[in-house]
């Protein structure tokens, strides 16, 4: 099914396997009568698609640029303006900035690989978070509206952001950045189409 949808969408991304679950699901103690648990579609077995590598590139470049400018400003204040505090402690400030830069670049880098999404027949799921993981699912029959936004920075890297809104408030909305514009638009059309069908039923 997923392959079919991917073909439909024309998503040209490599298939990315989620870590295989190391538990036997049949053994789980969980009662929920009247519905055969084992036949339910499971989120755990979905193959998730990663985001475009360009997003990582873009994010890393922007992080670098941000810190380069920050460091340049500190250097300028330290050596040209000769600000009192910075003349004495400037090196420590620079060291701190460098450490922050390394930290944020690392988080950006590893965090990127934790972001993934999947589209199923009836819902969209997005995973994110390096340390604090979260995985959010929105059923299409609860989608309020859907939009694709391409910012000036996005355009430089051939990226776009897909936003899926529900009535559940801003915390429950999905914002998937790092999709190619054509993919994002196809996803949007697919979701809108699905939402429409559900409405008619």
């Amino acid at each position: 099914m997923r392959q079919y949808i991917l073909n439909y969408l024309g998503v040209r991304s490599t298939i990315y396997m989620q870590e295989a679950p190391n538990k036997q699901f049949a053994e789980i103690e969980f009662s929920n009568h009247q519905l055969d648990e084992t036949t339910l579609p499971r989120v755990a077995y979905i193959e998730y698609s990663p985001l475009e590598k360009n997003l990582l590139k873009a994010n890393l470049i922007w992080t670098t640029l941000f810190f380069t400018i920050g460091i340049a400003i500190v250097l300028f204040l330290q050596y040209v303006i000769k600000l009192d505090g910075l003349v004495n402690y400037g090196n420590w400030v620079l060291l701190g900035l460098m450490a922050l830069f390394i930290l944020s670049a690392t988080i950006t880098y590893f965090g990127f690989f934790k972001k993934s999404y999947a589209i199923r027949e009836k819902d969209i799921i997005f995973n994110t978070g390096l340390f604090w993981r979260s995985s959010t699912a929105i059923p299409f029959n609860r989608v309020q509206h859907c939009e694709v936004s391409i910012g000036p920075i996005d355009r430089m890297f051939d990226l776009s952001e897909l936003k899926v809104f529900t009535a559940g408030g801003s915390n429950s909305d999905l914002k998937i950045e790092g999709l190619r514009p054509d993919t994002a638009n196809r996803l949007k059309d697919y979701i809108v189409n699905k939402t429409g069908i559900d409405e008619e039923e």
Partner: protein, 500 residues
């Protein structure tokens, strides 16, 4: 108003009641005064050179302009019904025209304060879905016209969107009789006020006292001097003073919650119509809030130890709202009995909706982790205080710490969750009890969250988002969370019931 008398369908512009002019004038003056009072003050103090006469002319002029403006505003503010939408035109200099499609209208609320009641008019508020700014209100409109408008709008809305409810439109719309579920008289209110959460009112008072203290300090009035001059001994009177202050504090906190309860809930009527609930209460301003069945997303009720003692609970009906998690959109019924709650539950979800639910506890690591971190931090703080020789502060922090950790323990012990084919129920509370309940098909989206600690221990939090806020099940087995996630998604996706 005059024009509308010969048109029942509101197709010609309808204005507010004439009484509204008075209200608009008052409002304009209020806005004027609020915006220019610093200048007025400045002139009063410093501008004596201008002479008294100038002042009077200036004021009269401003008042006249304000009045003319208000009257023009009154005549240029009206609404009418088009084929598929409610059109509101307003503005004195800049005209705005707002079109609200009938099926976008969410709530129609009536409010009455003393002036309204004198003239038999109501304040009409119409709330729409989507953006929060599209809300509009009429200061005053004849009750009769307002009621008719409500009926017409409801009927039109059904025609615009017949899927909401099938057939029998006319009968239902005309049927405006309400069945009273419960009514609170003054005695009930006093009882309910007496068992309110006084800690909350106490908090407000504490903040107020702190503010006074701070200001007195600024004004260099030393309270200890003032008090100390009348008493001689230090230790004995100190304790005595604290004791008296504590009693006074409790008394004032009590009084504040009592007054608040009576003002907001005076003469409360909790009513049931065919399609929804309505609450009507208030001492100075009679407020009329309704919640239609299909708009209610979550219901919750709870108590505290005092309330438990006399057997009353607080019931909340949380509605879908454009403004996220707004208290305004949730109906609060104080002083409910078990019987009333069961009645509301059965009306909304049918008898036996919660049958067959098994309640599961959450993982004990919820307490170990949260309580542990809290205990550690407070122990550190206490030791620091002891180290710096502040025994008094150390004792207070120590006691607060023990209480907090114990509260965590209770909240862990009481947390239970369960669900069946239709409903989700989450129980909780620390010293009191709290229950939240929602039908599965009202879920908007689902989220499974894990902290690094939870990941190591194969635990997860499940967050359920609804159109009236979120509900969370913390610290459950990761595999269980996953399984619930799948089940709920399946339920939402296979159910075609409208969530609103």
């Amino acid at each position: 108003m005059k024009r509308s008398e010969h048109s029942n369908d509101f197709s010609t512009p309808t204005r507010q009641s004439m009484v509204a002019i008075l209200m608009i004038v008052l409002k304009t003056y209020r806005v004027l005064v609020r915006n220019v009072w610093p200048f007025l003050l400045l002139f009063l103090v410093k501008g004596e050179g201008l002479g008294k006469n100038h002042w009077i002319f200036f004021l009269i002029g401003a008042a006249l302009i304000g009045m003319v403006y208000s009257i023009i505003n009154y005549f240029r503010y009206y609404f009418y019904l088009d084929k598929e939408e409610l059109v509101i035109e307003s503005g004195v200099l800049k005209r705005t025209k707002m079109n609200v499609p009938f099926d976008r209208i969410q709530t129609i609320n009536f409010e009455q304060n003393i002036i309204h009641r004198l003239f038999n008019v109501v304040r009409l508020k119409i709330d729409t879905a989507g953006s929060s700014k599209a809300e509009f209100q009429f200061q005053a409109i004849d009750s009769e016209i307002a009621n008719r408008l409500r009926n017409v709008l409801l009927a039109k809305r059904k025609m615009a969107n017949p899927t909401i409810e099938e057939s029998k439109l006319d009968i239902e719309v005309k049927e405006t009789s309400y069945e009273t579920i419960m009514q609170l008289d003054l005695v009930d209110l006093i009882k309910a006020g007496a068992v309110e959460n006084h800690l909350r009112s106490g908090g407000i008072i504490l903040a107020f006292l702190y503010w006074i203290w701070h200001n007195l300090d600024e004004a260099q009035i030393n309270i200890e001097d003032e008090v100390g001059s009348t008493v001689t001994s230090t230790v004995g009177t100190g304790v005595y003073l604290i004791f008296v202050l504590a009693i006074l504090f409790v008394f004032v906190a009590f009084l504040v919650s009592m007054v608040k309860m009576i003002i907001t809930n005076y003469d409360l009527k909790f009513l049931r119509s065919k399609r929804g609930f309505k609450i009507n209460a208030g001492l100075f301003t009679k407020k009329d809030t309704s919640a239609l069945d299909h708009k209610i997303q979550v219901i919750s009720w709870g108590d505290n130890p005092l309330k438990k003692l006399i057997g009353i609970k607080d019931l909340r009906l949380k509605q879908a709202s454009s403004i996220e998690l707004n208290k305004k959109s949730s109906i609060r019924v104080p002083s409910c009995s078990e019987k009333h709650i069961n009645l509301v539950r059965d009306t909304l979800y049918g008898k036996g909706a919660t049958d067959g639910i098994e309640y599961n506890p959450i993982d004990k690591r919820y307490f170990y982790r949260n309580g542990g971190i809290l205990a550690l931090l407070l122990t550190l703080l206490t030791s620091l205080l002891v180290y710096f020789n502040l025994p008094m502060q150390a004792t207070i922090v120590g006691i607060v710490g023990v209480v907090l950790v114990f509260t965590f323990y209770l909240s862990y012990k009481k947390k239970r969750y369960g669900f069946n084919q239709e409903m989700i129920v989450i129980k909780g509370g620390a010293y009191g009890d709290k229950t939240e309940m929602l039908p599965i098909y009202k879920i908007q989206s689902l989220s499974k969250k894990q902290t690094p600690y939870q990941r190591r221990n194969e635990l997860a939090n499940l967050v359920i988002y609804t159109a009236s806020g979120k509900v969370a099940i913390p610290y459950i087995d990761d595999s269980v969370a996953e399984s619930i996630f799948d089940t709920f998604l399946y339920r939402i996706e296979s159910d075609n019931k409208k969530w609103m």
